[in-house]
Each structure stands twice: as C-alpha cells, then as structure tokens.
Symmetry: C2
Subunit: 392 residues, 2 copies
C-alpha cells in the first residue's frame, strides 16, 4: 500500500461500526459494490467500478475481502492494507460474457467461507449491483437469505471523523478555486466548452499544497434556457448576452467532495431575475441559520420553506443531502435529505450540500454551500460570496 | 429540441431496428436505462443518470417514452423530439426514499399502456437498473414476464452510420490533441494532477472547429509501479525519473468516444522495457493487419497472440472491444471483444478500441487505436505515432 489517506485504526473503526450495524440487521456477511463504500472500508481506489467488483465484510473478521479483475488486483495491493489472502480475483475471461458472470466468484467465496446458509446483505440499489449480479448470487446460494442492506455503509459514513473533515476542507478550497476561475472565464463570446475546460483544469490542479482528484461529476454550466434543466451538458456554442449561467461544481481531495453552486448573469439581469436571486439568498440564509445539532432535517427545510412563503417561488425538490467520499456518477451519500418527512436528527460532523436551487419553466437559479454541522450550529466548509454575479 | 446530432430519420431507423430485435425476442416493451442507449434512441443527454430514469420502447410505437425526475424533464424537452405525451415524471419526493422507488412509475406506465401481461425486456446488467428497480417491476407487474435484454440495444449500435463515424473522427482529433498535450506536459518534477489538468483541458477545448464533451472516463496516467495497475488514479506527487507512464485517454464529441493509449518513459528505458514496447508494437500491428470484414473477433486476437508467441509476454485480458456512444463510467459498448471464443463476424463500420496493453507484476505498457472496420480492411480513426515516447 502507498500512503493511505487514513490511519489503520480509522479503517478498523469503520469496519467495526459496519459490523455493529450488521449485527443489528442479523447479517453474516455484506457484499459492498458501491466504490465509495469500498474505499471507505479498505482504501481501495481505482476507476475499475465499470466492471463487477466489491468487498465482502464478514461478521467474524476485521479484514474485508476484495474481489475484482486480475488486472485490478495490483490496485488493491497498492491502495489497501489487505493481505494476499483477502485479494481475490475472478477469471478475466468472465468479463462481459453471457455464459458467466463475476458474481459467481462472490457466491463461491461466500460459500467457501461458510455463509451458504447465512443471511447476506447486498446493496440492492447501487449502480454496481445489477439484477444479473443479484440473481446469480441467489441462484448459486439457494440456501442463503439475501437481504437489502443498500444504505448500511452509507449511514455509517454519516458522521465524519476529524481527518475526513480535513479532506473536505481541502476539497472546499479546490471548489472555491474552480468557482473563481469560472467567474473569471465565463463571458459572452467564450465557448461553453472552453470555460468548462478552465474550470476542470482548476479542479485537478487544486492548490500548490495539494492537488485535486477527479470529481464525481463534471461541472454543470446551465446556460440560458438550460438553467431550467438541472443536469444538462455544456455545448460548444459561445455564451450569449442577457442570460443566466448556473454553475454547479466541486472540489475533490482523496475522493472527499465539497460542492458549490453560484449563478452568474451575463448582461443586466431582469428585475424578476434579481428578485429570484434575492429570495433564494434570503431563504438559503434562513435554512443555514436553522442548522444545529438536535434539529431534524425537515426542520431545516421548513425554515427555507417559511422564507419562501408568499414570494411566489417554491422548490419541489429537496434542499440538500449528505455529501462526503464519492465516485462518479454521484456525489451524494443517499442518506439524509433536507425535505419534509426526513426526521434525521443532526449531529456534529454530519456534512451536507445545502442547495437552494430553483428551476422554473425557462430559467433557474442556484446557490449552495457544503456545510458541516458544528458543535453548536453550522460551519460552511465552502466560503464564497453569496450573491448573483453579474457580468455586465 | 435544440440542434440534435442526427436527422429524425436516423432516430426512427434506430428505433425500428430495436423493434425488429424485440420482435425476434418476443418482447412487447423494453425498459432502457443505459444512458448511452437512451441517447441513441431519443437524443436525451443530461448528467441525470445518477437517479433512476429510462426510456421505454414499445413494439407498437415509433416514439419511445421518457421517464425521469421532474427537474430533468426540461432536458428531455431540450434534447429530444419526444412530445409532451411521451415525457413522464415520477414524484420528486420518491428520490432516495425507502418507502417508494421510481420504478413504480415505470410499472404503472407499462400497466396503463397494456403491457401488464406482456413480455418486457430489461437491461439486467446495466449500472442503472438496480435489483431494487427490477424487484419493484416484478412486484407491481406480477403477470408480466420480465426478460433479460441487457445488450439488445448495444448490438443494434454495433454497426455505425456515416454520421456516427463523422462524430468518432471528430472525437479522434480531440484524443490526438489531448495526447499531444500529455506528451508535452509530462516530465520529471511536474505533479501528476497538473498533467491531468492539462490533458482534460485539451479534451474539453477540443479544436477551434468543435468542442469536446465530457469524456466517459477521466484519463488514466499509470505511473511507475502503477503502470501495473490498469485503472489507478493520479496523485499529486511529481513524476520521477526512470519510470514508464502509460496514458489511456479519449476524445468525446456529441458523446461519441475515440480512445487512444500511448506510453512514455521518463529517462532512459531499460532494455527489457524497450523490448516489451517492441513486442507489443509488432503484435498490435499484426492484429491491426488482421482486421477486415468477414474475419471474426477471435481471428484478430489470434494474430496478436501468434505475434507474442515465444517472446515470453502474454496478455490475459481481451485485446479490444466495441466503442462508440458512451457515458461515464464506461466507454465500451459491451458487445464484441477481440478474444478467444468471440466469433462475432466483422462488418464494415463496426468500431473498436484495439488495445494492446500488457500489465506485468511491476510495470505495464499500452498501445491502442480506435479503429473502424472498413469496406476492405481497417481504418485507424485515431492517428498517432506508434512507439514508446522517451523523455530523456
């Protein structure tokens, strides 16, 4: 293993916390395919998630098992502290074959280790556990009970360690640098792709002290009518005059993400648009002010909703979500969200992307920070002037 | 819809070809979640695949149905020619809830349209059809038959149209520009992340005539010992002297990908390493020379294997795979591969990434081109000097 991002004891604690939840759920083993979860538990880091891979956590062992392609096993050796007995591979020729599936190796491993009649958790709503993977496990482990443990590891990740927060602070510095470049670069006549190029360059360069990792999402540059389409791609058309550009980007450091949204207006904003920006700014501030330990997620959202009341604007989608360690294609942790009905109680060192985005029929506006629930309130990890940026 | 990449007739032909395969498989409807397939059939383009979405192709209609989040429906309006009746949404509050899953909307749509007792194809090994998605469909459509049609659309995509080849040529120009920047930038003392930043900048800037889209994979810079770990991430350490750097990157134009691999050596290569480069170069040339219509994929691989015989080197993994329209996290089409046992017969306008990569215990070497099977042989879409690049 190379220099791992965390001390060995921190990985041990993570595995122990997962095992404690497994005990509550009555699980003998847990098949983890989410690459963020694999990294969290072992340090494993490679762009190998496009082929089947995973780690298995057993209730009886503090060392997970890694299973993947032979050609990726060196990444397991380089980035984890797993010993050779815990690095397993499936035959390279099983890749993308109708006749075999790498899940067979997971099944045989589970059977060999005595879990053929056990209760086995799977991440049933992960990008990297397919129906085929699930059905192979079920077919080859007919006496095992497969249970959905989709967010088990995600919930263990909810409260960050001091070391994790440090990486998120570093990621926030990168996000701010990238946003600065975005605001400097975007102007009428510049091609959208050229602005995206400068933004991503800044994301990867990071700072003189630390570099950037690849972000979980490419930056979103939502221009003009596309500011109403929240995940649209850039084009190679030049920016025009008299249009908003909503920017959603991130910094990534040792796979920890800080996300940041701001909106520019090229030319003089309409009074309606200025009003939208003012309303969102005030409501975002109200929500931020409502964050503190002991509050629930829905109470934070209620503060935003209350601030919007009577303005004519409303937000259908949630106001934010947990964020931390991430891989493409998603930087959210898929646990707590700021929305009605989410009664998750905030604890210190939970981290969220608090995103006040409103998308209307023909335009949108976004303002966000990546925040930490502090001991007595909130700390904004990202720090950037909170306003509409007008480029006249 | 904005300027779509292809004529309406081309989309109609694609849907018709999918319907012809559906007829062969006895499918009434097909639930497509692979974003490359969604784009292929409708033009839909957004980074929204991190939440459940899909298109449904019915045997009775030439217009697919799009189902996704409300906030992404404007992307469907902007990037497809689907009418309002074919753009459906699920409630925003179903996102990431244990109690509901967006697959419910797919099930209700299929039932409403009369397929509750039909035979319905799903992409059972796609990143974006989860076991939960599959189980919800099965639970809510108890009288339907769910069939695995994982690669149905992928096989329809295998032979490219003239317009698709044009986008791949453009992507190849971008890949070459990015490789040129990589070779100019990488040297001892430069941080890996800073080199990655310049490479990705070149990928997005594209050319003065056309810009680049986000690539399906970030570039891989496999340095020193990590050149033996085929998908490892860059770090912020400076490149050292006396080590290989394997480069795997791409250009992307209207989501069409051309991939390109070359290897550098910083300092004077060892004679063993030079020999590896020579052997791979000759074997790659042998494989390239074996490509022509009527040959099978395994025959191409056999030419490579024959060239390696007696050299002491061998390649466990496949020599290449189909490539074209792609989204993160994978640029492969997951159909034909150059490997023993693959008897797919080559046809004009099939496109492959022919990747002669050998990863040994402690180092590796990569050389590739993105190729088109031509009318009487092969055309390399990417064009870049095929050799080991030494930076003394």
């Amino acid at each position: 293993m190379e220099g791992m991002p965390f001390a060995a004891t921190e990985y041990d604690q993570r595995v122990a916390r997962v095992q404690a939840r497994m005990a509550t759920e009555g699980l003998d083993a847990l098949v983890v395919t989410n690459p963020a979860h694999m990294n969290y538990l072992t340090g494993y880091d490679a762009w190998s998630f496009y082929q089947p891979q995973g780690v298995i956590v057993e209730r009886t062992s503090s060392m997970p098992l890694w299973i993947g392609r032979p050609q990726d096993s060196n990444s397991a050796r380089l980035t984890t502290r797993l010993d050779e007995e815990h690095i397993l591979t499936y035959p390279e020729e099983w890749i993308e074959l109708p006749a075999h599936h790498p899940a067979e190796r997971f099944a045989s491993c589970l059977a060999e280790r005595g879990w053929g009649r056990g209760r086995i958790g799977i991440e049933a709503d992960s990008y990297f556990t397919s129906p085929r993977f699930f059905l192979e496990l079920r077919r080859r482990l007919p006496e095992a009970e497969l249970a959905d443990a989709d967010r088990l590891v995600a919930w263990v990740r909810a409260v960050k360690s001091a070391a994790e927060i440090q990486y998120m602070r570093a990621a926030a510095r990168i996000a701010e640098a990238a946003m600065t470049v975005a605001l400097e670069t975007i102007r009428p006549g510049v091609r959208e792709c050229d602005a995206a190029a400068e933004i991503v360059r800044a994301q990867l360069r990071g700072t003189p002290e630390f570099g950037g990792d690849y972000p979980a999402l490419f930056p979103l540059l939502l221009v003009g009518p596309r500011s109403s389409a929240s995940h649209s791609a850039w084009t190679d058309a030049p920016f025009g005059d008299g249009q908003p550009v909503a920017l959603e980007l991130s910094g990534c450091r040792r796979r920890y993400t800080a996300a940041l949204c701001r909106t520019m207006y090229l030319g003089a904003p309409t009074s309606d648009y200025r009003r939208l920006a003012d309303v969102v700014g005030a409501a975002h501030a109200a929500a931020l002010g409502a964050v503190r330990p002991g509050r629930t997620c829905e109470e934070v959202e209620a503060a935003w909703r209350e601030a919007l009341r009577g303005t004519g604007f409303e937000k259908e989608s949630r106001l934010g979500y947990t964020i931390g360690l991430s891989y493409p294609p998603n930087w959210g942790e898929r646990t707590a969200s700021f929305r009605p009905g989410d009664t998750t109680v905030l604890e210190p060192n939970m981290t969220f992307h608090l995103l006040g985005g409103i998308w209307l029929g023909s335009f949108g506006y976004e303002l966000s920070e990546t925040i930490r629930v502090s001991e007595d309130g909130v700390e904004s990890l990202t720090g950037f002037e909170r306003r509409l940026f007008v480029r006249a």
